[in-house]
């Protein structure tokens, strides 16, 4: 059941076309390719390493990457519109730093939690507004957002701050146990809920469809009378929210706030989205693909850990190779579709 790592989010992932598919739709090929890759990787792991087949191993991939999954979901929305958000890693750092500082100062968690979520959301809203109203390239606007958030968190505190707050510790230690003693953390549950909501929103709401329409052809979307500006701003706001939620999960996961957390994480998120089959030019892809992409990244790390004698930087190399492969695959698929 668990080894294919397909969560129950599969339902509404297609455009809701409901068409009985006998031949894979060209739009599904990248997702299917990722799924196949995942199965191959898992099989290779199980075949080569003792104990790789334990259910807990695969669950740990979820546990260790839950925060990345949440960030990648936000990134999926952005990339579907044809944009990009480079600020997410820095927003994570800011979120954890602010949360840890305020908790250390004795603020109640009931205030800190909504506040840090709001910070990321507002940063996203600001970047989205700049992108829309001043016609600034998303790359530039979010690069500025990245410097801003990282700089702010360094300004607050340059050192790692431990979090000892009761609520935070309880959240971090909460486990959902199944029989045979396997478990997942609260982070995983939150991340999967986020994936589920995102999948539903993309497939079943006007907002979700507008996201696809803008990615397909923004000029046409405008002429068709769609709220292009509003949608675009909303997408960056959403990504900002997901980044700060990811930051909260990260602070659960590490029990600390640090201004250097999440360095390069934006690139991991983008990589996961692309490997998951979302077209970088926008308009095509699914949240389910993003989930698979995150799992691929997680599984690479797991395999390298099990191998034991490999440098952990091999993760980066493999991710790089996969990125190339998937971008070429997308190119081929879209070219065939024309």
């Amino acid at each position: 059941m668990i080894d294919t790592t397909t969560p129950p989010t599969a339902g509404p992932k297609t455009r809701g076309s409901g068409r009985r598919i006998y031949r894979p739709n060209t739009r599904h090929i990248p997702v299917l390719a990722t799924l196949a890759l995942l199965i191959v990787m898992y099989s290779v792991g199980v075949y080569n390493y003792d104990g790789f087949g334990d259910t807990q191993v695969i669950l740990n991939v979820f546990v260790d990457n839950a925060f990345l999954l949440v960030v990648a979901v936000g990134m999926t929305f952005v990339i579907l519109t044809g944009g990009i958000d480079l600020s997410v890693g820095a927003v994570i750092a800011l979120t954890t730093t602010v949360a840890a500082t305020l908790l250390a100062a004795g603020w109640p968690p009931g205030v800190v939690l909504p506040l840090v979520l709001l910070i990321g959301t507002v940063i996203g809203l600001g970047m989205g507004s700049i992108i829309h109203f001043f016609k600034v390239e998303p790359f530039i606007a979010t690069l500025a957002g990245m410097f801003l958030a990282r700089g702010l968190s360094l300004l607050i505190n340059r050192n790692s701050i431990p979090i000892t707050d009761d609520f935070w510790t309880r959240m971090a230690q909460m486990r959902f146990r199944f029989d045979q003693g396997v478990f997942i953390s609260l982070n995983v549950v939150i991340a999967l809920i986020v994936v589920l909501i995102a999948a539903l929103v993309l497939a079943w709401t006007r907002f979700g469809r507008n996201v696809y329409a803008i990615g397909g052809n923004a000029d046409s979307a405008l002429l068709m009378g769609l709220p292009v500006g509003r949608t675009r701003i909303a997408v960056y706001t959403l990504s900002g929210f997901c980044a700060s939620l990811g930051g909260v999960l990260y602070s659960f996961y590490t029990s600390s706030g640090y201004s250097l957390h999440g360095q390069g994480l934006e690139l991991d998120a983008i990589a996961a989205v692309v490997i998951g089959g979302v077209l970088l030019t926008g308009g095509s892809g699914y949240v389910l693909g993003t989930l698979l992409g995150v799992l691929v990244l997680g599984l690479i790390q797991t395999i390298i850990t099990f191998q034991g004698d490999l440098n952990s930087w091999w993760t980066r190399i493999v991710v790089g190779i996969l990125l190339f492969a998937f971008i070429v695959l997308q190119r081929l698929v879209t070219r065939k579709a024309r």
């Binding site: 469809r209 696809y212 397909g216 979307a221 002429l223 009378g225």
Partner: protein, 500 residues
């Protein structure tokens, strides 16, 4: 009147696109907006659909003064539009493209099956039965255009604007569209129709408004304005030009060694092996339906695709064209049918666009001196009457016909020996068409060989010395143009009545 526009003024930097134009539309009428390219038709439509704001004048819709801040407002006020270039989202399904923005919902959740059902019904009214859940870009341009029309009709607008809706439709599809227009007219919809096909305009329109150079020329009832008069109002001069060409080009050019000779040349899946010769000074017309292999044949001669059978000789010597660059060095130029995507670079100026091919031929290490550039560009801007006659203007600000002329100038400047022009007159108006035709005739007189690809038989007949007829990706007949050859004769071949 459902719509009343008075004294509309729209100024772009350096150009007055609309200068005090009045336009009115009554419910239940089909009103044609006529004018050459650059006359201001598109601008007027964009003003009406909220894409542009106006610099002066008033718009009244249903008796109320309105001012749109965007396409959404115009749409909500009851104006729906089908643009010339399909403005839909290629990555979404057909059904979504018809309903996006107004999807049927329950509790905020899109009801896909209901939407597909409605889309099916909406398309059935256009006699179109396709898989509405398939992605839009898996269909041909004509079908995409029909989907755009279905979307506009489905909006149940008070005012329906059709901007060149027929340019990618075939005869039957046009008839269907007209039937729908009549039905909508009976339901009291006001329809604004723009088309370059005068016959279509006369077939369907009740009244017409003529624009020229951003000014209103007049509003007429179709029945009161003979076609010739309309054309002269659009152009502002009498149309002797066209008739002159007719006489000029019927002379048979000098024979001798052909400039280019294709023997058994073909490419699997694109065009069956064919024989073709083109002499210097000869205009060879390619006739056939859309998709009959016209463009594919031309691409083989330009080295854009590689043949997998047969051979090509240029000046009697065997030649292998492995790339367009190869062809260019051998004196072959190709002016593409798709000026938007394959030819014109909108972000560059007229001058830069014109110089492009020549510079490519020289190689980028030897830039053309600016003075020489100006000289050349000036000459061609004058010769082709490119409007506005400002070489430093960005090409994207020019009208379609003028962009086409820029593209033509780009190739002419390289002084090719064989000029291949694919659909140079599609989507441009009568006046510009006549000018381009005249130019082709002149070039041939000057010794250039021309391969002229066009869907319009009259045009092919008027210009060509020799007509190659294509059907189903096969060259089926070669006709020497003469008194016995007319459109009917070619139509017969295209339709399969005469086998070679």
């Amino acid at each position: 009147m459902v719509l009343q526009m008075t004294g509309i003024k729209k100024v772009f930097p350096g150009v007055v696109a609309l200068d005090g134009v009045d336009f009115r539309l009554a419910p239940g009428e089909i009103h044609a907006l006529m004018g050459e390219n650059g006359a201001g038709k598109s601008t007027l439509i964009k003003v009406l659909t909220g894409v542009y704001d106006i610099d002066g004048g008033e718009i009244e819709l249903g008796g109320e003064k309105v001012r749109f801040t965007g396409p959404l407002q115009a749409q909500q006020a009851g104006i729906s539009t089908v643009y010339q270039e399909v403005n839909l989202c290629p990555n979404l399904s057909v059904a979504e493209n018809i309903y996006i923005g107004r999807e049927p919902r329950r509790f905020g959740r899109i009801q896909w099956s209901e939407m597909r059902k409605r889309a099916k019904r909406s398309l059935a009214r256009l006699d179109l039965d396709i898989d509405v859940s398939a992605q839009l870009d898996s269909f041909s341009l004509a079908i995409q255009q029909m989907v755009a029309i279905a979307r506009a009709v489905d909006l149940q607008a008070k005012v329906l604007i059709l901007d060149e809706p027929t340019s990618s439709l075939d005869k039957d599809e046009v008839d269907q569209l007209f039937a729908i227009m009549h039905r909508l007219k009976d339901q009291n919809t006001a329809i604004l129709f723009v088309s370059h096909f005068l016959d279509q305009v006369y077939e369907i329109a009740d009244r017409m408004t003529v624009l020229r150079n951003g000014k209103l020329i007049g509003e007429y009832r179709t029945a009161d304005l003979p076609q010739m008069q309309l054309v002269s109002k659009m152009i502002g001069k009498e149309l002797e030009a066209l008739e002159k060409i007719e006489e000029q080009t019927r002379e048979v050019p000098v024979r001798g060694e052909p400039l280019i000779r294709a023997t058994n040349l073909g490419r699997t899946g694109a065009i069956a092996p064919f024989d073709l010769t083109i002499h210097a000074g000869e205009v060879v017309g390619l006739a056939g339906l859309l998709g009959s292999g016209r463009t594919e044949l031309a691409r083989l001669l330009f080295g854009a695709d590689r043949p997998d059978s047969g051979e090509l000789t240029i000046d009697g010597k065997p030649a292998r064209l492995s790339s367009p660059r190869d062809a260019m060095t051998k004196g072959i130029a190709f002016s593409s049918e798709n000026r938007r995507t394959e030819g014109i670079i909108g972000e560059l100026t007229v001058r830069e666009n014109i110089i492009l091919a020549m510079q490519a031929e020289r190689g980028w290490t030897r830039p053309i001196p600016r003075r020489r550039q100006d000289e050349l560009v000036d000459r061609y801007v004058k010769a082709l009457q490119i409007r506005p006659a400002d070489p430093e203007r960005l090409v994207r600000d020019l009208s379609g016909g003028n962009q086409q002329k820029v593209l033509l100038a780009r190739w002419l400047i390289t002084e090719p020996r064989l000029l291949i022009i694919d659909e140079p007159t599609r989507g441009i108006d009568v006046g510009a068409k006549a000018e381009i035709q005249r130019l082709v005739a002149q070039l041939a007189d000057g010794g250039m060989a021309v391969l002229f690809v066009s869907a319009e038989l009259e045009e092919v007949l008027r210009l060509s010395h020799k007509i190659e007829v294509l059907r189903d990706r096969r060259l089926v007949e070669e006709l020497t143009n003469g008194d016995d050859v007319d459109a009917d004769r070619i139509m017969q071949t295209i339709a399969g009545g005469v086998t070679p």
